[in-house]
């Protein structure tokens, strides 16, 4: 369930796009420094957004510098610097989530794939252990999410809301810890909405695959008007995050965050729902 929180590049200003890219590169470098070269390859857009959001909340972005990219030494990149712990936190979230995603995949996949995944597991578990030492709270939340997820999916009368709850709750708690009082509550609501959106978008994206293989999918009971249910739920999750987000007065990276919430996520939604609308027309 990675890579849904994206920017909509066409609508970003060039300077905003460059700032976004330098956060991406800065985070990549940070992962390489804190963990391993291999972990760098697992960098996701979601964690980039998380880093952007944290830096905006704390106003901790302290500037940019240029350097060489490890993957392409001929290319010069701009890297973002962070005065607080936003980058190291985002790096930790990235490796921790990658590890738990792998665990989830291992329990879901067949015999041969399982063996392959088990062979590469040490590359995931070592960085995760390191990250766990730094941010034990994040690891605890992620573990809780995975356990709750596996439990709810086994529950025979699991509703759509119940299925989305663990992921949403994870992001809600993760963001809530960044502020106290009303701010914490606002962050929580944003996190819950976004988390719910990610989970449901992923579930809708995998719908065909899940139906074929007979695995769990929260949209299964809504076979008749699937497109409508998917759209309604994705939209209301976004609306929830957006309404809460409107109560914040962010300054740094505001253009990027606005772009993600108002353009990037709706684009993801329309790409996913298009699939279902086309299918409906065919069947008619």
């Amino acid at each position: 369930m990675f890579g849904y929180i994206k920017i909509y590049k066409n609508e970003l200003l060039v300077r905003e796009y460059e700032a976004y890219k330098s956060v991406y590169c800065g985070l990549c470098k940070k992962i390489g420094k804190d963990y391993s070269f291999i972990s760098r390859m697992l960098l996701s857009y979601d964690c980039t957004f998380y880093a952007v959001f944290l830096m905006s909340l704390k106003r901790s972005c302290s500037g940019f510098y240029t350097g060489r990219c490890r993957f392409n030494p001929f290319k010069k990149c701009s890297y973002c610097e962070c005065g607080g712990d936003a980058l190291s936190k985002a790096a930790a979230v990235n490796v921790i989530l990658a590890y738990y995603k792998l665990l989830d995949d291992i329990s879901d996949s067949g015999f041969f794939k399982r063996i392959v995944l088990k062979i590469i597991k040490p590359f995931f578990s070592r960085p995760r252990k390191k990250a766990c030492k730094k941010f034990p709270e994040i690891d605890r939340l992620a573990k809780e999410m995975l356990n709750a997820q596996q439990k709810t999916e086994k529950n025979p009368d699991c509703t759509l809301d119940m299925a989305a709850h663990p992921t949403a709750e994870f992001l809600a708690s993760l963001l809530e810890s960044e502020g106290c009082g009303n701010d914490g509550r606002i962050y929580r609501r944003i996190g819950y909405g976004l988390g719910r959106f990610i989970y449901l978008a992923d579930a809708a994206d995998d719908y065909e695959k899940d139906i074929k293989s007979g695995s769990f999918n929260p949209f299964k009971p809504y076979g008749d008007n699937l497109a409508e249910i998917i759209n309604n739920n994705l939209s209301s999750s976004l609306a929830m995050a957006y309404d809460a987000y409107n109560l914040l007065n962010l300054v740094d990276f505001k253009g990027i965050i606005d772009n993600v919430i108002l353009k990037g996520l709706p684009t993801v939604q329309s790409e996913i729902s298009e699939k279902f609308e086309v299918k409906n027309e065919k069947s008619v």
Binding site: R189, N233, S236, S237, L247
Partner: protein, 195 residues
Amino acid sequence: MKNPYEVLGVSPSASEDEIKAAYRELAKKYHPDKYTDSPLADVAEEKMKEVNEAYDEIMNSKKSGSQGYSSSSYTNTSSEYYNVRMLIQQNRLDEAERILDSETGPDHKAEWYFLRGMCYFRRGWMQQAVQYFQRACQMEPNNAEYRQALENMSRRQSYGFGGYNTAGAGTQSDCGVCDICATAMCLNCLCNCCR
């Protein structure tokens, strides 16, 4: 207290029209109607109050007529579920749900469905919330409160790719100094191209 000019996001030398425009923009942003039923309603209300106070203070200091703003909040005075409503309003959802769920029997009242839906809504469980609101509306189609809740839900559900643009138009229209600079730079680039 915060600097009223900072609250409204205008410079102290701003004209009255600019202040009014900024105020209107913020009033739209934090309007209580947008946050009815939301667990963050109190935060929005606080922000609205802050904006109102800032606006009044600036306008008073400018010695011109002040404009009031009445915020509408939703309260229902006589209700069987008064305590549940209070709990929901204070975001004590576990307690509210416990009271509601302790009521057994298949024949619940419309208000029960409404309040149960409200608990789900506040938790962010939108699909369930819609179903409960719909049930409440089916049972009492003439109840304005239930209908309002359902309408709010369907408004949120239609925040789609197209709908967002209009929703976000207000927040995007602020034209700052940076925008002017950026525009000038773009224009400059274009002119250079033609040469």
